[in-house]
């Protein structure tokens, strides 16, 4: 598809447009402002309401939850968190596992994707076209379809219950999007830059390391964040590759917690797990909002 040219950060650098609403004539500024506040309020309620409810639930005793809305003055507790954090294994272990898998998968993906994207960006014609189509097809492919075959792989090569081995399929699954993003970024660099470096006698590896990559910093970073998010959240492969509870990553651990209630339904504990499982991502989002948004929007366009 034709790709419109794009500045490296579409959020801050996008061309100014007032949008259709702003151009509407006849509405008074006051009512427009009210409508805007209402729209944003609704949006935030829709996005955050369910999370706020989880936070509320996680701080309530079981009796208070069954009693309904009445009695907000009492029935508050931190017991749900203590229960989750002192479980066997403790909840932070899942977060640590997810963090490790996310980190290593991201490094591995970048290691493979950067040379590939560079190689493709320097080419034109059939190879790039075919690879572009293949990458797009694999990027949208619902990877849940692969679980049985990957289970066979894990069995055959003895890769089960190994967090580092799990990073292999994760890198494979993240590659298409990563290559697409990075290839677009490489293509934007002026070719003269590299040509002059060749004249200076720099080798391919040196050019890549000291000239091109520093310029691609933002693109590499946002790609890394997207890969990390994918690996952090992945469920079906982790479900089939990991069976030891101390090795579980967050996603299968949550599913197992969902099926592990003893005699009563511990929604408070579920909610505490939900909150603890969300906090790292909330922080990640708040700190790295710009590169994530940039990566997502870029990926969409350059596909």
């Amino acid at each position: 598809m034709t790709s419109p040219s794009l500045p490296s950060d579409p959020i801050s650098g996008g061309p100014m447009s007032r949008g259709p609403k702003a151009s509407s004539a006849g509405s008074t500024p006051a009512s427009a402002l009210l409508g805007r506040i209402l729209a944003v309020g609704l949006l935030l309620f829709w996005s955050l309401g369910p999370m706020v409810w989880q936070l509320y639930t996680s701080l309530r005793t079981p009796e208070a939850l069954l009693a309904g809305w009445a009695g907000l003055a009492s029935g508050w507790t931190l017991a749900n968190y203590t229960q989750i954090l002192t479980g066997d294994p403790p909840f932070w272990r899942y977060l640590l596992n997810s963090f490790l898998v996310g980190g290593v998968s991201t490094l591995l993906t970048l290691l493979l994707a950067i040379p590939c994207a560079y190689g493709l960006a320097r080419r034109s014609g059939a190879l790039r076209l075919v690879m572009g189509g293949t990458l797009l097809a694999t990027a949208v492919f619902p990877y849940v379809l692969l679980f049985l075959a990957l289970l066979e792989v894990a069995r055959h090569f003895g890769l089960a219950n190994n967090l580092l081995a799990l990073c292999l399929p994760y890198a494979g699954l993240s590659l298409p999007l990563a290559v697409l993003l990075l290839q677009a970024a490489f293509a934007e660099l002026p070719p003269e830059l590299e040509e002059s470096a060749v004249l200076e006698g720099l080798s391919l590896l040196q050019r890549l390391r000291w000239i091109l990559l520093p310029l691609l910093g933002p693109a590499v970073f946002s790609t890394a964040l997207l890969v990390f998010l994918f690996s952090w959240n992945e469920f079906p492969i982790a479900l089939t590759w990991l069976s030891r509870s101390e090795l579980l990553t967050l996603a299968p651990a949550m599913a197992r917690i969902a099926g592990s209630s003893v005699y009563t339904v511990p929604y408070g504990a579920f909610a505490a797990a939900t909150v603890l499982g969300s906090v790292p991502l909330l922080l990640l989002l708040l700190v790295f909002q710009r590169p994530i948004v940039a990566g997502l929007t870029q990926g969409a366009i350059k596909g």
Partner: protein, 431 residues
Amino acid sequence: MTRPPRELWARRLALGLLAALVVALLLPVSIAVARPAVTIRVLMPAPFVDATAATVDAFNRSHPRLTIAVTRGPFETESVSDLAISSLLLGDSPYDLLLMDVSWTAKYAAAGWLLPLDDRLGPDPLAGVVSGARQGNVIDGHLWRLPMVASMGLLYWRTDLMERPPRTPAELVAVSRQLQQQGRVRWGFVWQGRQYEGLICDFLEVLHGFGGRWEPDLTPGLGLEQPEAAAAAGWLRQLLVDGISPAAVANFAEPETLQAFETGDAAFMRNWPYAWSELQKPGSHVAGKVGVTTMVAEPGQSPAATQGSWGLSVLRGSSHPDQAVEVLQALTGADSQRRLVKDWGNTPTLTALFEDPELLAASPTLPEQLRALEYSVLRPITPAYAQLSDILQRQLSDVITGGLPAAQAMGRAGQASTLLLESTGGEGTGA
């Protein structure tokens, strides 16, 4: 181009952290290799981990060179099986022993995951076992599993609301309706109506109560295409239509059922024996007001209690089968069962324990449980059981939620089951 030193440090730090993590991951492996004594790993559903903890402790203290390590599985029966299967499929299973539900045995044995126990446990290992827990352990002439606790479906009733429990479906509905009209309870009967294995257990009891059967060799449709099956499923649906059971029953498993009964909201509950001791705990609104009996049955039909025993099997992949058998015997032995009954409200499998005065004092419903065990019925024993159960669950759930008329849904379940057994070559492979 030179790099600012700070960036270099950051990179070294990151590499160092990564290396430390890798080492941290590999360290436990090397420690495990260094340990000389044998460790037998057992996977159990969460409740049994607590219930056997005392036995395991005692065993580990008296056996310095043999250690039992118990892995806490999930609570729901199917989730435990999913976990066991996923580790078995990956090969190199981390477990030596598995605490198995009676309905898994055929599948696990056919998959080649279990070690036959025939010669390892003496001449007749099931001799002392009560008849209601004896079935389902020997398949195709081999013993695959030794029961640790018996279990069967019971009807819980409120002794403060009625003189004696109802014996027929009609009576149960009439008593419920009367109590509801008097405003003494919100609901009549709570049971497990969610689309899962528990629904099958409830249905099987009602099915037998209506004179029906569900067996792999029955035609047509394993017995499901008979009027009795339609009557049983239709009765369950009618409970929701008439408001005897809440509509939410269609999403109830055992915990929700117990919760509804515990708060005094319902007159009757279908559940397993462990619920009795839960209901006597502080916080329960019905402590001391609960009796147990068998499920209702039509006049002239005998009641039925679905057999839900748990037993231990040795996995074929175990590298210490002899020690695993030793642990199996300790966990299924009389001392272990005594603790399970006395402290945790489980049902023993050894006939002798039902008459033990100490246990009778701790668990006054034991005689009623023994009586229920005489009526115990088994779910079909075939490697395809999981599929058969799934087919029936789906159709039953459709009936209960008002999607299909009972007769039509049971007809579909019967046809789908027949088709499945034909196409997988599982025809006539019943026990």
